[in-house]
Amino acid sequence: MAAGGIDVEVKRERLGSPVEPEGLRVRDLNAHQLLRGADIEGPNRPAHLEGEELERYVEERVLTTTLDSAVAWARGNSFFPLAFGLACCAMEQFHTAGPRMDIARFGFEAFRASPRQADLIILAGRVSIKMAPIIRRLYDQMLEPKWAISMGACCSSMGVFNNYALVPADKFMPIDVHVPGCPPRPESLMHGILKLRDLVLADPPEGWRTRYAAVGTEEAP
């Protein structure tokens, strides 16, 4: 290890706000009770509401969304992946679209052949230096807004073949999600795509590092 040595002593404190109380589930329950008027005062409270409880009730029941979160919701749930298999990871990509793992459950099974109709490129396989400019051109010609998943170790970090012939995808195009594995199982590619969907929906689940603000867990430099 370099001079820094292993200072991997994990300090974990819980963040200020525990799981956000206004979660959907909790709001649902409040609304239910308000309707039955149970918790306001006494069990025989009439069911109808007025004034301040009415606003709270309406606010609880109706999901108010801004336009861009609605658009983000639409985009996140309707990826059109570009049918782009390079090498062995493409076989596992087939199986992700296959009957058992079945990406169609999430609506992403429409693999488009041309970049003009695709907004998600999954680099499934190893990128050689002869292929890199072609992939960059494809990425340029894709629909906006576009995302890129680099599937497999070869694409993310040249994996087993760290030699003259390969290029990690990060060198020539922006990658949003790296899926580890050689080849990654269909389930892990699925997990990668769902993680990208959360990223697009603009409320990614906090990784355990951010939730606990863990410092010092990175490997030594």
């Binding site: 049918a83 782009f84 298999g85 390079l86 090498a87 062995c88 493409a90 076989m91 596992e92 087939f94 199986h95 679209a97 296959g98 009957p99 058992r100 052949a113 396989g125 190893r126 050689s128 230096i129 002869k130 292929m131 890199a132 400019p133 072609i134 960059r136 494809l138 070869c154 087993v160 073949f161 030699n163 003259y164 012939a165 390969l166 290029v167 060198k171 020539f172 195009m173 922006p174 050689c182 080849p183 199982r185």
Partner: protein, 421 residues
């Protein structure tokens, strides 16, 4: 990372190659002016090229006048990487070449090293290897059938084939822990004996598979569109194929029953009786029918191998080559020394060169290993069947329609990982 005013070196490289350089004077009879000819990139990113194969196609209307395959778009320098790894570590590198027939790559390489070492592989290991080889042949043919039917428009066949292939990959995962590139074959045998429930699951699969293959046959052979597109298109006779060095289902479809499992049996293939499907005319329909029939034969081999599975060690007893079992490490000092020596430096192989051919789903796959006495191979070369069979594509396709070219590329079953190595 966009290149801005100065082109990044990748971009400059690709744009420096224009079609004029690749253009060759076209001596097409009856076409004087080249105004009618259209040179098109049937390029690296195309749904029907089964990988990153680029075909420079010169078209006259719908007819393909000239075709030039351009490869190298997934070249990973595997043979160079294999040269600075110890013999034991080369197996996962070599397995990733032909990513549909990974057991065959490992088998060719491991067979070559065992011949160099003159290591004796126990009978049980040979049978286990054959079971996994034939299951892998079925899985490879299933992906070929799925993607070819997809190219011809039968999309549902793709999903049926993947359903079967998932079962085969579960068997691989059960026996070796990983769906693909399992590194199950070691020099001298296999790394682990099969778990108890494996045999029952393989028998279930062997019962189910022929019925499913009948379904595929029933759907595709009754479909007039598929028959019209396959029957009588792009035939090539056996002599031209032999002069082009083509082996495997393409050669057997043209009538020459050359199959290394029968001609030069290795790893005790001679104990099983199975037939070699052979075509007659050598057109696309024969190539399709030969591969579909091979699935039934492979199932038969797997069943016979399971019935005759002998007891005994699953890897060679020679501690110089095979790792001693874990429990022995606690007790015997000698096993510990062997283990340490194998894991750190790996075993040394006497100097020499060997060319070990086996029968892969696409033809004769051979591994050339040259050892210079150290613990790292001096040269590992894979004679990949797809690389040689690809040369026959231009002979098959000249003068036919574009639709026939797509069917021919599908029936050629090229795997670009094996071609570009």
């Amino acid at each position: 990372m966009s290149d801005g005013p100065g082109l990044s070196d990748y971009r400059r490289r690709e744009q420096s190659v224009t079609l004029e350089q690749l253009e060759q004077p076209l001596d097409v009879p009856g076409v004087e002016s080249s105004a009618e000819l259209l040179t098109l990139n049937f390029g690296p990113h195309h749904p029907a090229t089964h990988g990153v194969l680029r075909l420079l196609v010169t078209l006259q209307g719908e007819i393909v006048r000239d075709i030039k395959p351009v490869i190298g778009y997934v070249h990973t320098g595997i043979e160079k990487t294999a040269e600075d790894k110890s013999y034991w570590k080369v197996i996962p590198v070599v397995e990733r070449m032909d990513y549909l027939a990974y057991y065959f790559n490992a088998m060719a390489y491991v067979g070559a090293v065992e011949t160099l070492l003159e290591a004796e592989v126990p009978k049980r290991a040979q049978y286990l290897r054959i079971i996994h080889l034939e299951l892998n042949r079925i899985a490879s043919h299933l992906i070929w059938l799925g993607t070819s039917a997809l190219d011809l428009g039968a999309v549902s066949i793709f999903l049926y084939c993947l359903r079967e292939r998932d079962i085969v990959l579960d068997l691989f995962e059960m026996s070796s822990g990983q769906r693909m590139h399992t590194r199950y074959f070691q020099v001298g045998g296999v790394i682990e004996d099969i778990p108890p429930g494996f045999e029952r699951k393989v028998r279930e699969f062997c019962k189910v598979m022929p019925a499913r293959a009948d379904e595929y046959g029933a759907i595709l052979n009754a479909n007039e569109i598929v028959l019209q597109r396959l029957r009588g298109t792009c035939p090539l006779d056996a002599e031209t194929l032999l002069s082009l060095g083509v082996t495997g289902p393409l050669l057997r479809a043209a009538g020459n029953p050359w199959d290394l499992r029968k001609a030069a049996p290795y790893s005790s293939y001679e104990d099983f009786d199975f037939k070699i499907p052979v075509g007659t005319v050598g057109d696309n329909y024969d190539r399709f029918a030969v591969r579909l029939a091979e699935i039934y034969e492979s199932v038969k081999i797997v069943e016979q191998a399971l019935d005759g599975l002998p007891e005994g060690p699953y890897i060679t007893e020679d501690r110089k080559v095979a790792l001693p079992p874990r429990h022995e490490l606690a007790t015997s000092m000698e096993a510990l020394i062997h283990h340490f020596k194998l894991v750190t430096e790996g075993f040394r192989v006497p100097p020499g060169e060997i060319y070990n051919p086996i029968e892969s789903p696409r033809g004769e796959l051979a591994c050339f290993v040259r050892s210079d006495g150290s613990s790292k191979p001096a040269r590992v070369h894979m004679r990949d069947p797809s690389f040689v069979n690809l040369q026959a594509l231009s002979h098959m396709v000249k003068g036919s329609y574009i639709a026939d070219m797509i069917a021919t590329v599908a029936m050629l079953d090229p795997i670009l990982g094996g071609i570009d190595r």
